[in-house]
Symmetry: C2
Subunit: 206 residues, 2 copies
C-alpha cells in the first residue's frame, strides 16, 4: 500500500494503470474510517483491479459553525484499516494541495443541494460536488463507491456525473448499521451513551 | 474523418485511443469555422496523434437577448474545412444530447466571469466553463486549443483546469487577423462593409 499526497503523482499513477488496461475503483472518504467504509472498500476490491481510498477532510463543505476543526483525523488507525482491507493506494492530500491560492472554481448541482440537509447547511453540497469532481480528476476511477447513508449526497453526485458526462460509474452501497440499528458514522464519536441510545430510536421507529 | 454525435461513443473512442498510448488534441468550436480555427487545428495536429474538433453552438452561454438562433451553422463548409485540415474526428452532438431533461449542474469560476465581457453577458462564462468541462469529459484530450482573441475565456478556462485538476494542457494560440487588422471571428459575418471598416479602427489604433 502506498500513501500519495500529491495530485500530479496520483494522476500519473492513475494514467499508467489506465494505459495498462487496469480498472480503478475509488472510495472517497474524510477518514475516521469505520465498518461502513470497510464495506465500500470490499465492494470496490471485488470489482476493480486497483482500489484507491481518498482521505481528505474537505474544508469547503463545512459551514462556519460546523465541526471542521474537531472532525476526527485518526490517520494511523485509518492506515491500519486500509492495510487490513488490502487497499492499493491512500490518496491523502493536504488542504493547500487541494485548494491553492486563488482557487475560485465550484461545481454546483442546482435545486437538489438546497433542500433537506442542504437547507440548513448552506454551501455544503457545493463543497461536496466540487471536491468529488477534483478527486475524480486526480484518481481517474472507473467506479466510485458511496454509502446510501448519505442519500442526498449520493443523489447529487449521480446527477453531477450524468450532467457533466464524467466517465465514472457511481455505486451506492447499503448502509451499515450498529447492532441497535444506528447507522455507522464517523460523527457517532460525538455521541455519549445516552445520546447514542436516543439516536437508535430513529431507525427503530422507522 | 468521422463525425460523432453521441457522447458515449466519443468517450469509447477516446478511451481506446488513450489505452493505445495515442495523444488526443481537442479544438472546441461553435462551428462557422474560419482561418482562426484552422490555425488552432494545425497547431493541434502538429502536437497530437489524434485531432478532434468539437462543433456545438452551446445554448447555455447565450443570454436571452443574444444571437443563439441566428448564430451561423454552415455544417457543410465546416466539414470541408476539417477534411482539408485532416481532422480525425468532428464531435457534433445535438443540444438534447448535451443537455438532457433535468440538467442542473454548472461549473462556475467566481469573480473572473463577472468582469469585462462577463459584466454585460450574465451567465455567459458559466455556460462556457460548463460546456468545456463536458467536452473534456466527452473527448478526454491531453491538450486543448483556444485562441487568444477570446482572452477572458482563455483565462477562465485555465483557472478552471487548474482548480479542478483537469488532466489537460491548455494551449492559447495567437489571434489570427484579416489584412486590415480585424480579428477573424464567426460573428464578423454580421458586419456590413461599413461596420467592418469601423471595426478595423480598434486594432489599428491599438
Amino acid at each position: 500500500m502506498r500513501v500519495i499526497r500529491n495530485i500530479r503523482q496520483m494522476q500519473k499513477i492513475a494514467r499508467t494503470l489506465q494505459r495498462a488496461g487496469k480498472t480503478i475503483g475509488l472510495v472517497p472518504t474524510m477518514g475516521a474510517l469505520h465498518e461502513g467504509h470497510a464495506s465500500l472498500i470490499r465492494a470496490c476490491r471485488k470489482n476493480n483491479d486497483t482500489t484507491i481510498v481518498s482521505i481528505f477532510v474537505n474544508p469547503i463543505q463545512f459551514g462556519p459553525s460546523e465541526d471542521f476543526n474537531r472532525y476526527p483525523r485518526p490517520i494511523g488507525q485509518d492506515s491500519s484499516l486500509c492495510m487490513k482491507e488490502r487497499v492499493d493506494f491512500i490518496f491523502h492530500p493536504a488542504a493547500q494541495e487541494m485548494y491553492s491560492a486563488g482557487f475560485k472554481t465550484y461545481v454546483d448541482v442546482q435545486e437538489l443541494g438546497t433542500r433537506l440537509c442542504g437547507a440548513s447547511r448552506q454551501g455544503h453540497f457545493r463543497g461536496v460536488t466540487t471536491v468529488v469532481a477534483k478527486l475524480f480528476n486526480a484518481c481517474m476511477p472507473d467506479r466510485v463507491y458511496f454509502g446510501r447513508k448519505d442519500a442526498q449526497q449520493a443523489l447529487i453526485i449521480q446527477r453531477m456525473v450524468k450532467d457533466l458526462n464524467i466517465p465514472v460509474s457511481v455505486k451506492v452501497m447499503p448502509t451499515v448499521r450498529e447492532k441497535g440499528g444506528l447507522a455507522v458514522s464517523s460523527r457517532n464519536a460525538y455521541l455519549d451513551e445516552g445520546r447514542r441510545n436516543d439516536a437508535r430510536v430513529i431507525s427503530q421507529s422507522l
